[in-house]
């Protein structure tokens, strides 16, 4: 480099400084925890040893839980694929009406916490079901709630994650050029033949991607097996890890680290299998054009619409009526009627119970804080990834996916390992504070904020930034005055996704919470475990209202959003 003038030098220092700061931050959030976990698996407590490994491998509980995890995740994925796939085909390719409203309703379960879904379904069935009692159909007292079983877990996993398959398949179907369908029809094939021979084969990549996503999510799900499995001692890997850690404390850290590596490996196997399946054939679509004209259902339109809405009501409205009815009775088992109905449970969880009140504040502040920080990281990060095409950050973009692709318990255990001892140099301990949860949220949900920001950048004309550069503005000024305002809608969408996911999560905080640092998920969980279903239901109902309210509020700035960044919006 020849001698540069001071202004040029300053620009260079600013840009490289920001770039490497981001590289360091993303590495800290994604690579460090996973790396720490692997080290613990190989050398528990800092010494190369196979004792912990042997102990875990010799325990029959390990293999029972692994078997349970695999069967529930696979069966749940199959169920989700059947439901999500069918609904995506019907809702995307045919001429049903009120598509947007249906999409919103169908995707809703995905945005609601799994433990809330589980709680809601539990309230719907079983001998104490307030709703069934209302219509005199409750099973006799003393009989078991049918959902406390492997099948119950599979059913709820299938319903919870059907929207994942729906969303990926729908995105694929919308990118399918209409000529391909029209060419098939013109060749004399019936719509069903075209579906079987043209549409479905071409939809293999999104379908496989959706299935893989669904499998990894089912495998890592904690809320559903925690609510439905723990009472009947039916354990999967995440609940086994939770029980070990809750019962025996950090002494078993090496063992749970190995268990979480095991679940991480199964998740990786699922992702690799997806890669393998897609590599065998060429699925590239060569033409691009507008989306296909919907197939006319003719006289079948009404029955199909009725069927879809009936399904949406069954999986959405029914359980929440169950939840609502339980939240309105004074004590579990009391029938609901005009005389017994009470808001006392709401008053208790909102104004009286100390941990519950704290949890509202904690969950709100941690989710909002994580969402804000993630936006502040993602806007410059997206800039370097998309516009500067920085190779280091492209690799880190993949790394940022890791903590989210891995089951939540994996990251939680990694965070415990990282922060169990006080931070070096600073000598501050994050363990047993809210900050360990904030760290885990940042690491796990970074990618949720990054994806919308990246698609935002891809849709902005870069000359807008170049014009500011020509006007003499350096990178920091351009970021603040030009770039941030331009990607703001996408960033807000990302922040909202982060907020909603963090606000509803339980998997990470179930392992990381401490007294004073409870989250809403943790409090709902402990109410239910303590037998206080009425309080649990009231608290859960409040979170559902907040979630749906925030989702609906996005209609306000819908026009300024890049397409396809919010799953519940077209």
């Amino acid at each position: 480099m020849s001698l540069a003038d001071p202004a040029t030098l300053r620009t260079r220092v600013e840009e490289t400084g920001l770039l490497w700061g981001l590289v360091g931050l993303v590495a800290l959030l994604s690579l460090l925890p996973i790396g720490r976990l692997i080290v613990e698996g190989l050398a528990p407590g800092g010494q190369l040893s196979a004792t912990a490994l042997g102990k875990v491998m010799a325990s029959p509980a390990t293999w029972t839980a692994t078997w349970n995890s695999l069967t529930t995740a696979i069966a749940g994925t199959i169920l989700a694929t059947l439901i999500g796939g069918t609904v995506a085909l019907l809702a995307t390719l045919t001429d049903i009406r009120a598509r947007n409203a249906f999409t919103f309703c169908f995707v809703l379960p995905l945005m609601i916490a799994p433990q809330v879904t589980a709680l809601a379904w539990l309230q719907l069935f079983g001998p104490s079901s307030t709703l069934l009692k209302l219509i005199g159909m409750a099973p006799p007292l003393g009989s078991r709630n049918p959902l406390y079983s492997r099948e119950g877990i599979i059913l709820l996993l299938g319903l919870q994650y059907a929207p994942l398959v729906f969303l990926t398949l729908r995105a694929g179907l919308r990118a399918l050029p209409k000529e391909l369908i029209e060419a098939g029809l013109a060749a004399g094939a019936s719509p069903l033949t075209v579906l079987r021979t043209v549409v479905l084969p071409l939809m293999t990549p999104p379908l496989v991607a959706g299935i893989a996503l669904c499998f990894v999510s089912s495998l890592g799900n904690f809320g559903i097996p925690a609510f439905l499995g723990i009472p009947g001692n039916f354990l999967v890997l995440p609940t086994l890890i939770y029980q070990r850690l809750a019962g025996l404390g950090p002494g078993v850290l090496s063992e749970v680290a190995i268990l979480s590596l095991l679940i991480g490996l199964i998740a990786m196997a699922g992702i690799l299998l997806q890669d393998l399946m897609l590599r065998r054939r060429d699925f590239r679509i060569t033409t691009t054009s507008s989306a296909a004209r919907p197939f006319e259902l003719g006289r079948w339109r009404r029955p199909v619409e009725l069927g879809l809405w009936a399904f949406a009501i069954l999986v959405l409205a029914m359980p929440f009526l169950g939840l609502l009815s339980t939240s309105l009775i004074p004590a579990f088992g009391v029938p609901l009627n005009a005389r017994t109905a009470t808001l006392a449970n709401y008053a208790y969880v909102l104004f009286e119970h100390a941990a519950s009140k704290r949890a509202f504040v904690n969950s709100f502040l941690m989710s909002a804080g994580a969402a804000t920080l993630i936006v502040l990281i993602c806007v410059p990060l997206g800039y370097f990834i998309v516009w500067k095409k920085s190779r280091a950050l492209r690799l880190l973009n993949l790394a940022a996916e890791l903590p989210y692709a891995m089951p939540g318990v994996v990251l939680a255990i990694a965070a415990i390992l990282l922060f169990l001892k006080p931070l070096p140099v600073l000598n501050v301990s994050l363990y047993n504070t809210i900050w360990i949860i904030v760290f885990a949220y940042l690491a796990r949900f970074l990618v949720l904020g990054l994806r919308p920001v990246i698609s935002g950048y891809l849709q902005i004309d870069r000359t807008l930034e170049e014009a500011a550069q020509i006007a003499g503005a350096g990178l920091p000024r351009r970021l603040v005055t030009i770039i941030f305002p331009l990607v703001a809608p996408a960033a807000v969408a990302g922040a909202l996704l982060v907020f909603l996911t963090a606000f509803n999560e339980l998997t990470v905080s179930a392992l990381l919470w401490s007294s004073g640092a409870e989250t809403l998920g943790v409090v709902v969980f402990s109410f239910e475990q303590g037998g206080d279903s009425t309080y649990a239901s009231a608290l859960a109902a409040v979170t559902v209202v907040v979630t749906v309210g925030l989702m609906a509020s996005t209609t306000l700035f819908a026009q300024r959003l890049p397409q396809g960044v919010l799953p519940w919006r077209d």
Binding site: E466, G472, A473, P485
Partner: protein, 363 residues
């Protein structure tokens, strides 16, 4: 004001040479157009001058300051130049006045000085009532004017214009062309104007640099470019020149020589050092040929097609002795001949394309 010196600039994208030894010296206050078809390298050249890309070889200087070479790269924000983008690149979240004021704010100019200069710039482009509007509510021509005001408010010594009229409709183009010319006259700023439209380039530029496939083909005044194209590509590109094989029969005399083309003899223009050769190439334009008057020498041809151009016809004709060639000429109304009829064509002017010519001399 500043000279812009581009010296053997090279830019590669993988194995593709997007700029191949391009050298252009733009004089202080000159209006230079860079003309060429899409993919010729003109946009690459603009991005090098602006500093959006790094140069692989050669040098670019603005005034005496080296801004780009394989070793040096001054970032765009420190080059102190102005650009009018094809897409206008107006910031949608700012008002017109805020857009124009941005460069001044960055440079640390404060109100009331800033406000005064913004008002003056908007006044200059005839948009003084629009200061508080959002760019999204303006028409294409108004956006272009805002972009121009934003670019000129900081009084840059060098202004780059990247196909600024490409997104405007035909009527607006003419008036914006006028606007650019007026601006150049008033400010005396050095301007580099990128375009694929030769009419635009001819109307505006002091000199035109014609580019193709990353190379500079000719750098000359519009008139010289039209009258004396330096090579076959330029001859074909500018003014739809027809290039025909010809034999030079006499040594040049007062810039003219005698040639034989398509079996007839004609006197055409040529370089003073034009050699007598059987391998020459003659550039003819539609207005260089016409239907021969009775008794005038001419080559016989058959009319192939007539197309009405408003007030005159464009006639395509095939010479009787060379069926591979199509000549086009203009004929006044009413049409002197119909398709299929035989005519005689007289060659009244033309230019012998020099065999090889160094660009410096052509300039």
């Amino acid at each position: 004001m500043a000279r812009l010196t581009i010296d053997r600039a090279q830019k590669r994208f993988g194995s593709y040479l997007a700029l191949d030894d391009v050298s252009i010296a733009v004089e202080d206050g000159e209006f230079l157009a860079v003309l060429g078809p899409s993919g010729c390298g003109k946009t690459t050249l603009l991005r090098q001058i602006a500093g959006f890309d790094k140069l692989d070889g050669g040098q670019i200087r603005i005034g005496d300051r080296l801004v780009s070479s394989a070793q040096t790269h001054i970032p765009p924000e420190h080059r102190k130049l102005g650009i009018v983008f094809q897409s206008y690149a107006l910031w949608p979240h700012m008002t017109v006045a805020e857009n124009v004021a941005y460069g001044l704010t960055v440079a640390g100019v404060r109100d009331p000085e800033r406000g005064k200069r913004v008002a003056a710039a908007l006044d200059l482009v005839g948009l003084n009532g629009f200061a508080e509007r959002r760019p999204g509510l303006l028409s294409g021509g108004q956006r272009q004017r805002v972009a121009l005001a934003r670019c000129l408010v900081t009084e840059p010594s060098l202004v780059l214009l990247d196909e600024p009229l490409a997104n405007l409709d035909v009527h607006l183009r003419a008036s914006m062309e006028e606007e650019f010319a007026r601006f150049h006259e008033r400010t005396g700023t050095t301007m580099v104007y990128i375009t694929h439209d030769q009419a635009e380039a001819m109307a505006l530029a002091d000199r035109i640099a014609v580019m193709d496939r990353g190379r500079l083909l000719q750098l000359a005044t519009p008139s010289l470019l039209y009258r004396e194209p330096a090579n076959v590509t330029v001859a074909g590109f500018i003014g739809e020149g027809m290039v025909l094989p010809a034999t030079v029969l006499s040594a040049p005399q007062a810039g003219h020589c005698k040639v034989s083309v398509l079996g007839v003899e004609a006197v055409v223009r040529c370089r003073p050092d034009q050699a007598v050769t059987g391998q020459a190439k003659l550039c003819l334009r539609a207005r260089d040929i016409g239907i021969a008057a009775t008794g005038q020498d001419g080559l016989s041809a058959t009319v192939e097609r007539l197309s009405y151009q408003g007030g005159f016809f464009r006639m395509e004709a095939r010479p009787a002795n060379n069926q591979d060639v199509v000549l086009h000429l203009d004929a006044a109304e009413p049409a002197p001949a119909q398709a299929g009829e035989a005519i005689r064509i007289a060659i009244t002017d033309g230019w012998i394309i020099p065999e090889s010519i160094s660009l410096d001399k052509a300039a």
